[in-house]
């Protein structure tokens, strides 16, 4: 948000997930690029309709898992075979089969931490303030209503034309979202 537009976007409300997904497709097809959709539960295919294709969460988890696994094994090797080798029952200091379990646990631990924090970071959460909450009806987005927003940063954004377009999609209500 380089320049802060006083208007964040135009928001349309729908009462079924089907209406939202249809509206999202039509809005995207009409040439609007900067869109978002809000629903009280994950709607299959909705993210694709608003032009979201690159989900980096799996990559983050893979990297986390590799770091955890390598780190876990190297930690045990370095502590038991390099830094302070102890002879216990005549077993070799670098007894790799015994190190597998902790390596596995560390892989899972780091991958899981990456999944959680990676997802939150990519989603930009926690975010205490967001303009969409300025719309009073948006409180129902966590209950039974579905919302579509065209951001004012979209090159095609034009308040009266965008409003008329969204009204044509059989929206239940339309509101302008202040930043």
């Amino acid at each position: 948000m380089a320049k802060r537009d006083p208007i964040y976007g135009m928001m349309a409300e729908f009462d079924t997930p089907q209406a939202l997904i249809d509206a999202a497709r039509k809005t995207h097809e009409a040439g609007y690029q900067k869109l978002d959709a809000y629903s009280p539960f994950p709607v299959e295919g909705l993210a694709e309709e608003i032009g979201f294709h690159h989900d980096e969460v799996p990559l983050v988890v893979l990297i986390g898992g590799i770091i955890g696994g390598c780190g876990g094994y190297l930690m045990q090797w370095w502590m038991s075979a390099v830094d302070y080798p102890l002879n216990i029952g005549g077993k070799p200091p670098h007894s790799w089969p015994a190190f597998i379990i902790i390596t596995f646990e560390m892989t899972i631990l780091f991958a899981a931490i990456s999944a959680v924090f990676g997802m939150l970071a990519l989603n930009g959460l926690p975010m205490p303030y967001h303009p969409v909450f300025n719309v009073p009806r948006f409180a129902m987005a966590s209950k039974d209503r579905f919302f579509l927003i065209v951001f004012s940063s979209d090159p095609k954004y034009n308040p009266p034309i965008t409003r008329a377009f969204l009204e044509g999609l059989s929206a239940v209500s339309i509101s302008e979202v202040p930043s």
């Binding site: 978002d36 009280p40 709607v43 045990q76 631990l109 997802m119």
Partner: protein
């Protein structure tokens, strides 16, 4: 659908044969219809997004706490205080106040640790494994089963920490740079256990919290009390249900489920290594890992039912936690119970087949030694009584299920008692045989952890949505979309 396929097959055979009564096919179809109707739904019909939200969030937001809740929580709280008193006295005097002596160095603490950690397994099984298997009925029980996991793991975690003799040095279990310059012994199953259990606790907590975020946003938007709005708002981290967020959220949730699945199987496997890697007869056996995991799921589902049955009754959630959930849980118990029975069978068989006289003596001692009544109770509780679950009427009766689950929980506790105490009390040298007598401090600590577990469950029911609201919305017919 199944009925149609079957009747078509019947029709095909009839083409060749003479007897092709269409009435037969029709009759078959009707039979399948009645079977389908008998299969209870996951969620009773007639609910909408709004009513599901309303019904679950009302338990937290609007419903006043009843006298029953205060009495129940009060008792659980007093039990927790009793546990803290027993632990406080332990810190003052040392583990000598317990019944542990040589040769039984692992008494109640390890029995209870294994019992609690096993109970925890059902939560992760329901939330992760059943998610991967697309068992959508899990959606109404996963939230409180995960909460149950967390509280059970918390209870489990107390025991090894207070069992180490000098509990204020329990952090020595972790590899951290210290002035002694030594590191933990990574070739020991006990240190594997530290990593497995702490990873399990961390991942379960994260999985639970991630699942809660969208529901916390619902509570934030619906709460009228400003303090509640602030707290739920802060915890929901500004969740707004954006399609991009949901996409990453679902990916992360699925990956967590994929990670938690091998993790949950590994945890009780590693716990069983604590025994199986040792040379004590009765411990040193390769059947332990699978049999421990099955036993963990067995006791976990029993605890899920013992919690679900009163909760659905008291909070009027029979429409969400239906007969189907009770039946399915009962079937899981029946299956895992049979695996446990197989484990006992293999133990007995191997003690004979191995030709090892110490192993053979262990089984003889279980059947005829001083703890024999406990072993027979164990067989009754874990193998014989649960076989009544083959009867459909008992699988669908909440009262019967509640009682059978209680029996199974007792049985699984006895199983760990037999493994830990009876194996240790008479091993290789007759000169060092002994008996184990738990003291009142052992009992106070054990019963106290049950109080702590229940107190946490009581608080959870009032403070957080005990059924996942957003996952319930996805089960409604109106949630379906066509491409």
């Amino acid at each position: 659908m199944k009925g149609r396929g079957f009747s078509r097959a019947v029709e095909d055979t009839n083409k060749n044969g003479a007897l092709a009564p269409e009435a037969l096919t029709k009759h078959m179809d009707e039979q399948y219809k009645t079977v389908d109707a008998q299969q209870a739904p996951v969620i009773e019909p007639g609910y909408t997004f709004a009513t599901v939200t309303e019904k679950i969030s009302a338990i937290v937001l609007t419903r006043p706490a009843s006298n029953g809740w205060f009495v129940g929580f009060g008792i659980a709280f007093l039990m927790t205080m009793m546990m803290l008193y027993a632990i406080g006295f332990l810190f003052l005097k040392g583990v000598g106040i317990w019944g542990v002596t040589i040769p039984i160095g692992w008494g109640f603490a390890i029995v209870n640790f294994v019992w609690w950690i096993g109970i925890g397994h059902a939560g992760t099984l329901i939330s992760a494994i059943l998610l991967l298997l697309r068992q959508s009925w899990r959606n109404s029980i996963n939230r409180f089963a995960e909460a149950m996991t967390l509280f059970a793991v918390a209870c489990a975690g107390i025991f090894p920490a207070i069992h180490v003799g000098r509990p204020w040095l329990a952090y020595w279990l972790f590899p951290y740079p210290n002035t002694m310059k030594v590191w933990p012994q990574f070739r020991s199953p006990l240190i594997w256990d530290v990593f497995a259990v702490s990873t399990y606790a961390t991942v379960s907590a994260m999985f639970w919290f991630i699942g809660l975020i969208p529901d916390l946003a619902t509570l934030r938007d619906r709460a009228t009390n400003p303090a509640a709005r602030l707290i739920y708002g802060a915890l929901s981290m500004g969740w707004r249900g954006s399609a991009r967020h949901w996409h990453r959220y679902e990916t992360a949730y699925l990956l967590l489920a994929g990670l938690a699945t091998p993790l949950v199987l590994s945890v009780h496997t590693v716990v069983s290594f604590d025994f199986a890697v040792g040379i004590v007869p009765g411990w040193h056996t390769t059947i332990f890992p699978p049999y421990f995991v099955a036993g963990a799921i067995y006791s976990g589902f029993a605890m899920v039912l013992m919690l679900a049955i009163p909760i659905r009754k008291i909070y009027g959630l029979e429409d969400f936690i239906t007969e189907r959930h009770l039946q399915n849980s009962a079937k899981v118990m029946l299956a895992t119970g049979l695996i446990v029975a197989y484990g006992y069978g293999v133990e007995a068989f191997m003690s004979w087949y191995s030709g090892d006289r110490y192993d053979a003596f262990t089984i003889w001692n279980r059947l005829h030694g001083p703890y024999a009544p406990w072993y027979y109770s164990l067989l009754a509780c874990n193998i014989f009584i649960p076989q009544v679950l083959w009867i459909r009427k008992l699988r669908t009766s909440p009262v019967a299920l509640f009682m059978i689950s209680g029996v199974i929980l007792v049985g699984m506790w006895l199983e760990r008692f037999i493994i830990v105490v009876v194996s240790l009390h008479r091993d290789f040298l007759t000169s060092s045989w002994g008996m184990y007598y738990p003291t009142r401090w052992d009992w106070m600590t054990y019963i106290g952890t049950i109080g702590m577990f229940l107190a946490a469950m009581f608080l959870f029911l009032r403070l957080l949505p005990s059924i996942s609201i957003f996952e319930m919305r996805t089960l409604l017919p109106e949630a379906e979309v066509k491409e």
